[in-house]
């Protein structure tokens, strides 16, 4: 069946995630949807799969407009989506996952379902053990399970959202073969990705999204350069940056290993000098947050050492890091960085060194007023931080940092901000850098990384690249590294 999207629009507040997107995918093809983080790919696919309702536009199947108001409605129109984060039931078995929600009557015929599972899996070269627990499977296998389940339910339009993020090369080959087989049977496969190479390998046609709009369409085979230009815009000549003298090493990571339940980073070596700006690039969830948090002392490392300003602080509590001059500004402005329900003045009171057990309200208000003035925050000392806009919350977070910092760690400093606010934030950050603070920040905006960093470190699939000189790097080079090539 032919899938057509006409003028799909979707906004979240002031942000236009999808701004009039039109595309068409023919039956029996694999259609790529390419774009950077924040280009609008996920939103678009959520609309097609019924998770979100569009603000405007139409979806047509074989020429007939359809309304997809919910996930179950989508299934009835034979559309199914395999999400990037598996939407399955971890503690239940593969067979149980297969069966939940399926129309199988009161007591499901397990043997029949098991055979169907095995047949379908075998047909595409997957090997799934029906009795295995779902959270013991690899990400690739959980994906395979989801694909097989959707096929069993009769899906004709299959959407895959960043399917190759966490699977091995051989699993990827398997997946691609399966996708080709599905397309050959007349289905439509939407392949959503930011990885140029893979899109070129598997898709028949690709639509490139940028800032919520269709930047262009191209048949495959296609020149990589064309796709890069469509994805990122032209490589603009960079304005010359003032060279500043770097100071001694203030942040030293020696063979560091850190991990959580999902990801482990190993053998990380990095030395950051005073006044230097290091950017962390990569897809969300590739380890940048882990690194920033271990540098802040919020997570203990599994191995290796951290030195701040020459002092070994490995394994010390967070307060020691704070005392050594670390500032950490998390991505979650409200609820992580700022305390919802407290006013600006109260935050100022907490931030300043205390002289007695009693809070000097007037002093707190004065301090808050000063910070508001200096950082141009739209609000008063008695404003609840919940009422501040995103940009003002970010300004507030910066305003609450101590005057002198050794290392400033920031997650996504300008996410969701308009250009003007972003400029202003960077002016202040560069101000600090001029006073000797080292800045390490993570971002999904390649332009920001290239413009602002001295060096860039790329994270991909649990691996960390050696630092790259930002002055000499190009967008394409970064894009490829993020896509996992050459790491």
């Amino acid at each position: 069946m032919r899938v057509e999207l006409r003028e799909i629009r979707k906004s979240f507040g002031a942000v236009r995630a999808n701004d009039g997107i039109t595309l068409a995918a023919e039956a029996g093809t694999i259609h790529g949807v390419l774009g950077e983080n924040g280009a609008g790919k996920s939103t678009l696919m959520k609309i097609v799969s019924g998770t979100l309702a569009p603000d405007g536009g139409q979806i047509l199947l074989d020429g007939t407009p359809v309304r997809i108001g919910s996930a179950s409605q989508a299934l009835r129109t034979h559309i199914g989506m395999v999400h990037q984060d598996p939407l399955d039931f971890p503690s239940m078995s593969v067979l149980d996952n297969f069966l939940v929600g399926a129309p199988v009557g009161l007591v499901p015929r397990r043997r029949r379902a098991r055979d169907a599972l095995r047949d379908l899996a075998a047909r595409f070269g997957f090997a799934l053990d029906p009795e295995a627990r779902c959270d013991h499977l690899t990400v690739a296998e959980r994906q395979q399970l989801e694909i097989v389940r959707l096929l069993w339910l009769g899906v004709q339009v299959l959407i895959l959202d960043e399917p190759t993020t966490a699977i091995s090369a051989s699993q990827r080959t398997q997946l691609f073969a399966a996708l080709r087989a599905m397309a050959a049977q007349g289905r439509v496969v939407f392949f959503v990705s930011h990885k140029l190479e893979e899109v070129q390998e598997i898709c028949d046609r690709v639509t490139v999204l940028r800032h919520g709009r269709v930047a262009g369409e191209a048949p495959i085979p296609c020149e990589t350069g064309t796709l890069v230009r469509l994805m990122f815009g032209r490589d603009l000549p960079r304005a010359p940056r003032p060279r500043i003298r770097l100071g001694p090493t203030v942040l030293d990571l020696a063979d560091l290993a850190v991990g959580d339940t999902l990801l482990t980073l190993e053998h990380v070596v990095l030395q950051v000098s005073a006044g230097e700006v290091v950017g962390l690039a990569g897809l969300e969830g590739s380890g940048q947050r882990l690194l920033l948090q271990v540098c802040a002392g919020l997570i203990p490392p599994i191995g290796g050492r951290i030195l701040i300003g020459g002092r070994d602080l490995t394994g010390r509590p967070y307060q020691h890091f704070l005392a050594a001059g670390i500032g950490y500004v998390p991505a979650g402005r409200l609820g992580e960085g700022l305390i919802p329900g407290l006013t600006v003045a109260e935050h100022a009171a907490i931030a300043e060194p205390r002289r007695s057990a009693f809070v000097d309200r007037r002093q707190a208000v004065r301090s808050a007023a000063r910070r508001i003035r200096e950082f141009n925050i739209r609000g008063t000392p008695d404003t609840d931080v919940r009422a501040l806009s995103g940009g003002n919350q970010q300004r507030a977070l910066l305003a609450l940092l101590p005057a002198r910092l050794t290392v400033l760690l920031m997650e996504h400093p300008t996410r969701g901000l308009d250009l003007e606010s972003a400029e202003e934030i960077w002016r202040r950050l560069l101000d600090r850098r001029a006073h000797g603070t080292a800045i390490v920040f993570s971002s999904s905006d390649l332009d920001e990384l290239l413009d602002r960093s001295d060096r860039i470190v790329v994270f991909s699939g649990g691996r960390v690249s050696a630092p790259i000189d930002a002055r000499r790097a190009t967008v394409a080079q970064l894009g490829e590294l993020i896509g996992g090539k050459g790491l």
Partner: protein, 328 residues
Amino acid sequence: MDPVPLIAAVVAASPPVIFAVLGETLAEKSGVINLSLDGLLLLSAMTGFAAARAAGSVPAGAAAAMAVGAAAGFVVAFASLTLRQHQVATGFVLTLLCQNLAYLLGAPVAHVPGPQVSPAPVPVLAQWPLVGPVLFQQDALVYLSFVATAAVWWYLAKTAPGLVLRGVGEHPAAAAARGIAVTRTRYLYAVAGGALVGLGGAAFSLAVKPGWSRPYGIEGTGWIVLAIVIFGNWDPLRGAGGAYLFVLLQTLGTVLQSLMPRVPTQVFPTLPFPLMILALLLVALGNSERIHRALHRLPPGARRRLLRTLRALQSSPPASLGAPLEQE
């Protein structure tokens, strides 16, 4: 000391706790905690007895008790899922309210005789040595408790709606993505679970602890049931095991007291509570990441054995417990 009469006594006294544990397991599996359990057991016990006495029949009493349980489950679900109020607050108020209602409305039927469940030995099987007195010389409620445990287990493990329940509790977002009506499912099991708890209350006043009085004597059992559900890892068989263990401790308490008269009489009835805390501590230990990390330093043999013990103690709640699902 002959163990057979002891075990038979334990089995005879267990139906109320079994029903309560099963009911609360169902409700919590879907993601709704019914913190009013302690007061609810009292209220449903009193209602069951009063209704049975008024109607002259035990089934009428049981039905009334189940209705009370279902109503309480509904109130908790409504306050939590529709009105988005804090489950702990609602549950806590409700437990006090139910307890006071039980005492108030139960005053007329305190210390009066009423219908009871009569013993119902199974004809041939009751004569079996050992197994006979324990399993087949009991009353209808005990047999029902066996059936209920098996039924809940079968429902969760083998049927499609049972799968849906497990999915809703485990990962409501994934269930919603498959078109399952999450909120409606939670309402259903909060009410059904409450009804089972109500049956547990009736099992007290119509069989195990016939009649009604103030205080009734089971005050605090509801909290233990909540702890048993956690300790049992939200699994009906493990929960039933915990229930039998609890009743065994209670029964042993009376026996041990007679053997150790110098121990103060308050020690044994109170023992379940520090044991409850200990059980929860063990569960936290089993889940603790720090302990898991510390174990990595031990030699492999000891490590494997300790890990297996820890894993047995592990208890992971249905991921959505206590939180209403936010729809986009």
